[in-house]
């Protein structure tokens, strides 16, 4: 079984500050980490490998320094690492990113793709499911347990507001995983030694046969017009008392405001 794990290198948001003038992240001096949800994706893949047999390739799109994230994934047990890096990828939104990752996954070959449910910098949770659409394969998002994988399908538990769904999907498929699925391991010493030496395979737009018009800024329907912090409205009033009293005060407030 061939598993591709998609990861993203993100700024450690626990140490991030915002530039008040431009409302953008100040990335200088902020350490880069593997997106925490992606650590769960790596762990899930490595466990499948340990329980049966699988080859785990970790894939990321990013600047050359994203190699560090790939090496860390290898130190946790991934077998191979692929870095998608090309100037043409710059400015990709989730749509263009998903297209690029999908083309790369096709090039690498896979039975299963595992992603973290979302990245902590963008918080969109779009890239995984969009990739599945580009690849025309089934996907299950918010997976909190991989119950079993047999032959051509797998059964997983999808986290819901209350409880979970049990979902069966045919392979190849894509999963996005939540924190509840596992506790990511720390690297091992042998893994770290391997990670130091492992060859990071680099792929460009041409290497994955991508349509240039769908890459980077050109391929991104999202246009950022303005970034701003939402205004905090202060004219709020909390109604207190028992539920009956609160209903009474709410009604009189609404009447005062001439809403009813």
């Amino acid at each position: 079984m061939k598993i591709v794990v998609c990861i993203k290198q993100v700024p450690d948001t626990s140490e991030v500050r915002i530039n008040p003038e431009t409302n953008t992240l100040i990335r200088d001096g902020v350490p880069s980490i593997i997106n925490p949800y992606d650590l769960h994706a790596i762990e899930a893949a490595v466990r499948i490998k340990e329980e049966g047999s699988a080859n785990v390739t970790v894939l990321t799109m990013g600047p050359p320094q994203a190699e560090d994230a790939l090496r860390e994934a290898v130190s946790m047990g991934a077998d191979e690492a692929v870095l998608l890096t090309d100037r043409a990828f710059a400015g990709s939104d989730t749509w263009a990113t998903a297209y690029t990752l999908a083309k790369a996954a096709e090039t690498i070959g896979f039975d299963l793709i595992i992603c973290g449910k979302q990245a902590i910098d963008g918080d969109t949770a779009q890239v995984g499911p969009e990739m599945a659409e580009f690849l025309n394969i089934p996907h299950v998002a918010y997976v909190k347990n991989i119950e079993k994988i047999n032959g051509g399908s797998l059964i997983v538990h999808r986290l819901m507001g209350e409880g979970h769904d049990v979902v069966e999907a045919s392979l190849p498929a894509l999963l996005t995983v939540v924190r509840e699925i596992n506790e990511p391991r720390l690297p091992s010493l042998k893994g770290k030694m391997r990670a130091k030496k492992v060859e990071i395979k680099k792929l460009s737009g041409d290497d994955i046969n991508a349509d240039g018009s769908l890459l980077g800024l050109n391929g991104s329907p999202t246009q950022v017009k303005n970034i701003f912090a939402p205004e905090v409205k202060k004219d709020r009033k909390m109604l207190e008392g028992s539920p009956d009293e609160q209903i009474e005060s709410l009604l009189s407030e609404l009447k005062t405001l001439k809403c009813i």
Partner: protein, 385 residues
């Protein structure tokens, strides 16, 4: 300060520090309070290959030496000496096999020890054989193709939780120290059971138990080294393990110093943080200097051991003696710097002070270390004539 560690040694230090900070610090107070054996942490150490650090590569280890082990032990001790004692006692129990084991014994046991799937304990101490190791009363008698063990070992770290035990027993009482031999005994062997579990002042995450042998029969080949070599096996084992105990002293002292500095920067008295008071600064300065001195000695001795030198008894005793005395002094001073807060269980330094005490006592009291050093000085002086 740069300790001129290699890239691999730096990597070991960073990973051990990550385990200490992320997996040990959050649970250390609870493990101490409940006297709970740290199995979860042992699993993390196993998964991270930490148990294979000093085991040769041919047995699935990393083939590193005393310095790498000291670095890992130091980092774990910074977080919790109860945890590091469990980890280091595993190495202590392994040294007899590593230094004197037959190829068969090494092939049988070392891969499991390296992977962390089986924990090891070393059984030397008895009720009447502590500092006077020659006073051992446990016996091993050859009966056909089997050794029959009888007696009780006391205060054995990892006792009951370990799967593999290296035991020193008398094979010929009339010969005194020369009548001792070393054996490997597996948990589950009929006639081998565990007695009292001790309640301790510190290192409460580690387990300390009695080992009871009642007509416990083990195969003849389970003898480690030759008959009558038991005392040498024990002494060489201790020569190798002492740098690790020294590293525990450095680690616990560093942990206490870090806490004391953090507290002194935050605690305001007389209108200013107490770290700006010279009396406090001088205490911290002494503590920091002693930690650096202890670390330098431990690292130097570990490097000397790794060079393959034979005369390591004196220097390893010095490393153990000095670094554990520093561990005791610095943890005590950290409690003093932190005053009433330091004495409370809400802060980690009172535990560090309780934990540090054992380092001056186990694996040869610091008085015994001085004996070892003194005897080496006499021998060296005599050989110069």
């Amino acid at each position: 300060m740069d300790y001129f560690l290699t890239e691999d040694q730096q990597m070991i230090k960073e990973l051990a520090a990550q385990i200490a900070d992320e997996k040990v610090v959050p649970v250390r107070a609870e493990l101490d309070e409940k006297e709970e054996f740290p199995w979860e942490i042992m699993k993390v150490l196993a998964q991270s290959d930490m148990f294979g650090l000093f085991i040769p590569e041919e047995y699935g280890g990393l083939g590193a030496g005393a310095l790498e082990l000291a670095i890992a032990v130091e980092e774990l001790s910074r977080a919790c000496v109860g945890v590091s004692t469990t980890y280091a006692a595993n190495a202590l129990g392994t040294y007899p096999l590593l230094l004197f084991g037959s190829d068969e014994q090494k092939n049988k046991y070392l891969p499991d020890i390296a992977s962390g799937s089986r924990l090891v304990a070393f059984g030397l101490t008895e009720a009447n054989a502590g500092s006077d190791a020659a006073g051992i009363q446990t016996t091993a008698t050859l009966d056909g193709d089997e050794w029959v063990l009888n007696g009780t070992k006391q205060w054995i770290t990892n006792g009951g939780e370990a799967e593999i035990y290296t035991i020193i027993a008398m094979t010929d009482k009339s010969k005194g120290a020369r009548g001792a031999s070393a054996f490997v005994v597996e948990k589950g062997t009929p006639g081998f059971s565990f007695g009292k579990k001790e309640k301790k002042m510190g290192i409460r995450a580690s387990i300390t138990s009695e080992l009871v042998f009642e007509d416990c029969r083990i195969p003849k080949d389970n003898i480690i080294g030759k008959k009558g070599m038991g005392f040498i096996v024990a002494m060489k084992t201790l020569d190798h393990s002492r740098t690790g105990v020294g590293a525990q002293g450095v680690g616990v002292a560093q942990g206490a110093l870090d806490e004391a500095i953090k507290f002194a920067r935050e605690r305001v008295q007389f209108g200013k943080p107490i770290i700006s008071i010279q009396a406090v600064q001088h205490m911290l300065a002494d503590m920091a200097t002693e930690v650096e001195a202890a670390r330098s000695l431990v690292y130097s001795v570990a490097r000397y051991v790794d060079s393959g030198a034979k005369d390591i008894s004196k220097v390893s005793a010095m490393a153990k003696l000095y670094a554990t005395d520093v561990g005791m002094k610095v943890t005590t001073d950290a409690v003093q710097v932190m005053g009433g807060s330091g004495y409370m269980r809400e802060y980690p330094v009172e535990k560090m002070m309780r934990d540090a005490k054992i380092l001056q006592i186990y694996e040869g009291t610091n008085q015994i270390q001085r004996n070892v050093i003194g005897q080496a000085l006499i021998k060296e002086a005599a050989s110069k004539k």
